[in-house]
């Protein structure tokens, strides 16, 4: 991965003389993404800058890179894993290459096909491509949103960068929180692109590119998730066998690198199968990395050890405790550039630091398997609720829900009456496109009660789902609809960014995700939902494919959601310092997003209850604290 930034004059004429200096400071702000070198190109209306993390073609891979006649220029963050195959084809067509990079492949592919070349790329990327002859700038992101890309306009210029902090280096840009973005995060956990948490800063949506010509912007979608399943379906064994072939291919091309590649090993099915297939089908020496928790409720180290012994890997792990999370939390918000409702990015920040300390720049991990192989409870919840909705008075149907949420903390609810009451919200409205997520979003949206009167007034009448592009769901089953929503919100907006790219790049580490190879996703989405989520058994096909390569304890273990401790981190005995200051009435009123009274009540309750705090109060604490930190770091500019 790398960092990119640029400035385009939207009016006639060349950029100002002071532009190189501004662009330099923008690139400096991205140095964690690319510590190895930086490069610049400026001509006429365009200025492009690049911070490089050298992974492929260490000697001649500097950017920006241009074509043979220097009329097409590119800055590129990411990897094109099928670049060798594309290059071979392009050379047959007469293109001459001056580097061994994947970046140059994009330029020649563009010359061949225009922006349709994006369809040929198997990879993860955010790029800016300048076509001098057409005087057109293209900004593009990969299909699922692994690499970030933001932009804004100011004073007749378009300013874009991998991270918002870089854009803020442009003189004069106002720093303000977008209340609608805040509303989205306090409902959906993330913003819906192009909206971000910062007013007037936009994000290129995953699977899209932006064409900028003559001062006009045109957004085009080149890829989206499609859940049209095979009809009639093939046998489970066929899907499992095909999946193995595809995964081996996805992994093999993701090991292409001129530096060593490590693997994250959580102890769960997804990262274990990635590690095991590397062990079985490649000659890559296996270096694995894990997080362990002092708190046994969150710890998976026994499964990690089992996999380490099974594969004989060279393994390193780092143990996380509450104090660690407290200490790094401000850095987490600096890098994530968003309020968060959980602390789970913090341990991943520490994990990528461990990778960096071992001089590794690249790791493979299992992200994406839960979304496309139906690993999450939200898919089961949707299925059970739909089943229950067919007979809303049934006593037994809702009892299936009890299996999903053992931590719901209703040990004495013998009649399961509370359970039913929690889950019967809009029970029979199964045609609602957002049916699967209604309860989660309703429960999260309660946190908006903490908003200040000013924020509430500004948001009056606003429905945050307005920004969700309408999709024709009618012929998709309820599980596929849930998968689509989860992929469009939680996966790209949170898992791959806040918890993914941002925590990896914070320590100059690139993540690669075989389950997010678009061939794997497209294959998986053609498997009928009833085979992926067989009755209520999640990841059925993936488990079948994994069986020959993993110990039974790993394939058959109950899924443990990845979570990290919360309230104890911030208001435990020794850890109150900056937290109490940021949550004080004075600071809360100054920032203006939350009610000072409500926040004070929450603090009192946390101090009183300590570890016994419920989910909602924990989320409120992290949400308010992270927003206050975001305000301090970015709006007050103390970062």
């Amino acid at each position: 991965m790398c960092g990119i930034a640029g400035i385009l004059n939207l009016n006639e004429g060349a950029l100002d003389e002071g532009t190189p200096e501004v662009l330099s400071s923008m690139i400096r702000e991205l140095s964690h993404r690319g510590p190895d070198e930086s490069g610049f190109f400026m001509k006429g209306a365009i200025a492009l800058g690049h911070a490089r993390l050298s992974i492929i073609d260490l000697s001649t891979g500097s950017q920006p890179i241009c074509n043979e006649d220097r009329s097409v220029w590119i800055i590129f963050n990411g990897e094109i894993f099928n670049y060798l195959e594309l290059k071979e084809d392009l050379e047959k067509r007469g293109h001459r290459f001056s580097t061994k990079t994947d970046t140059e492949v994009i330029i020649h592919s563009y010359e061949e096909k225009g922006m349709d070349c994006l369809n040929d790329l198997n990879g993860q990327f955010a790029l800016a491509l300048w076509d001098e002859k057409k005087q057109t700038l293209y900004l593009a992101r990969d299909r699922v949103g692994i690499c970030p890309l933001f932009y804004t306009t100011y004073g007749g210029r378009m300013i874009f960068a991998s991270e918002v902090k870089s854009i803020f280096q442009y003189p004069g840009i106002e720093r303000k929180i977008d209340f609608k973005g805040l509303d989205q995060i306090f409902t959906l956990w993330t913003t819906i692109p192009p909206r971000t948490i910062f007013q007037d800063i936009s994000e290129i949506p995953a699977g899209n590119y932006l064409e900028v010509k003559n001062g006009k912007f045109q957004k085009k979608q080149y890829w989206d998730f499609d859940f049209h399943a095979d009809d009639p379906p093939y046998k489970e064994s066929f899907y499992a066998e095909q999946l193995t072939h595809l995964l081996v291919s996805a992994i093999t091309i993701r090991l292409r690198s001129d530096v060593p590649v490590g693997v994250y090993l959580s102890g769960g099915l997804d990262s274990s199968i990635v590690a095991s297939l590397i062990h079985r089908f490649t000659d890559n020496s296996l270096k694995t990395f894990s997080i362990t928790f002092e708190n046994k409720d969150f710890d998976e180290s026994s499964y990690q050890k089992q996999m380490v012994d099974f594969l004989g890997t060279d393994h390193s792990s780092v143990s996380i405790n509450c104090e660690d999370i407290y200490k790094v939390f401000s850095r987490i918000i600096w890098h994530s550039e968003k309020p968060i409702l959980r602390t789970s990015p913090a341990p991943l920040y520490r994990l990528s630091k461990l990778v960096n300390e071992h001089n590794y720049k690249v790791v493979l991990s299992g992200e994406g398997a839960d979304e496309f192989f139906t690993g999450y409870n939200i898919f089961k919840e949707a299925k059970i609720r739909e089943f229950w909705a067919k007979d809303p008075d049934s006593i037994y149907r809702p009892l299936l829900l009890k299996k999903l949420y053992p931590y719901l903390n209703l040990p004495r609810d013998k009649g399961n009456i509370f359970l039913k009451k929690f889950f019967n919200y809009k029970l029979t409205e199964t045609a609602d496109p957002f049916y699967s997520h209604l309860i989660r979003w309703k429960n999260t949206a309660v946190l908006k009660g903490y908003f200040s009167s000013e924020v509430k007034k500004a948001l009056a009448g606003y429905n945050c789902l307005e920004d969700f592009e309408k999709k024709n769901f009618e012929d998709w089953n309820i599980v596929s609809r849930a998968q689509y929503i989860e992929a469009k919100t939680f996966l790209s907006g949170y898992l791959l960014s806040t918890q993914g790219d941002r925590m990896l790049m914070a320590n100059s580490v690139e993540g690669r995700f075989p389950f997010l190879d678009h061939r794997v996703i497209e294959f998986c989405n053609r498997i009928p939902a009833k085979l992926k989520l067989k009755i209520l058994s999640e990841k059925n096909i993936l488990k079948k494919a994994s069986k020959p390569f993993l110990p039974a304890e790993i394939t058959e273990r109950k899924k443990q959601p990845y979570r990290a401790p919360i309230s104890k981190n911030f208001l435990g005995n020794d850890q109150k310092g900056y937290v109490l200051d940021l949550l004080s009435s004075k600071r809360v009123k100054e920032a203006g997003y939350f009610s000072a009274d409500g926040t004070q009540k929450l603090v009192n309750k946390i101090v009183k209850l300590g570890d016994h705090l419920g989910e909602r109060d924990n989320m409120a604490l992290v949400g308010i604290l992270s927003t206050q930190l975001l305000h301090s770091l970015f709006i007050e500019n103390t970062g």
């Binding site: 903390n409 209703l410 509370f418 009610s595 409500g598 009540k601 309750k605």
Partner: protein, 89 residues
């Protein structure tokens, strides 16, 4: 403790522990669950409050919305409970 004091005590507990939105006012018959006032852990907090403050034991079979899902339901439940164990006046 008379009924008004009882009501005041329960309302105050709900207000202080679950209502963080100063613009939101709840009625004595507002359903805690339907209106999202209390989540699953909140019910346990509520039970702990009742047991501690009114010196009662909330039995498993009493853990139902009819007893605990609104201020009115709680008052009604406490009064029934009191008449059985004669703790409250």
């Amino acid at each position: 403790m008379d009924q008004n004091e009882l009501r005041k005590s329960v309302r105050n507990f709900i207000q202080e522990n679950f209502i963080f939105d100063k613009d939101y006012s709840f009625q004595d018959d507002s359903s805690f669950l339907d209106e999202g006032i209390i989540d699953s852990t909140g019910i346990l907090e509520l039970v702990a409050f009742l047991e501690e403050n009114f010196h009662i034991k909330v039995e498993d079979e009493e853990l139902i919305p009819d007893n605990l899902d609104s201020v009115n339901n709680i008052i009604h439940y406490l009064q029934k409970k009191v008449s059985k164990i004669s703790v409250l006046v």
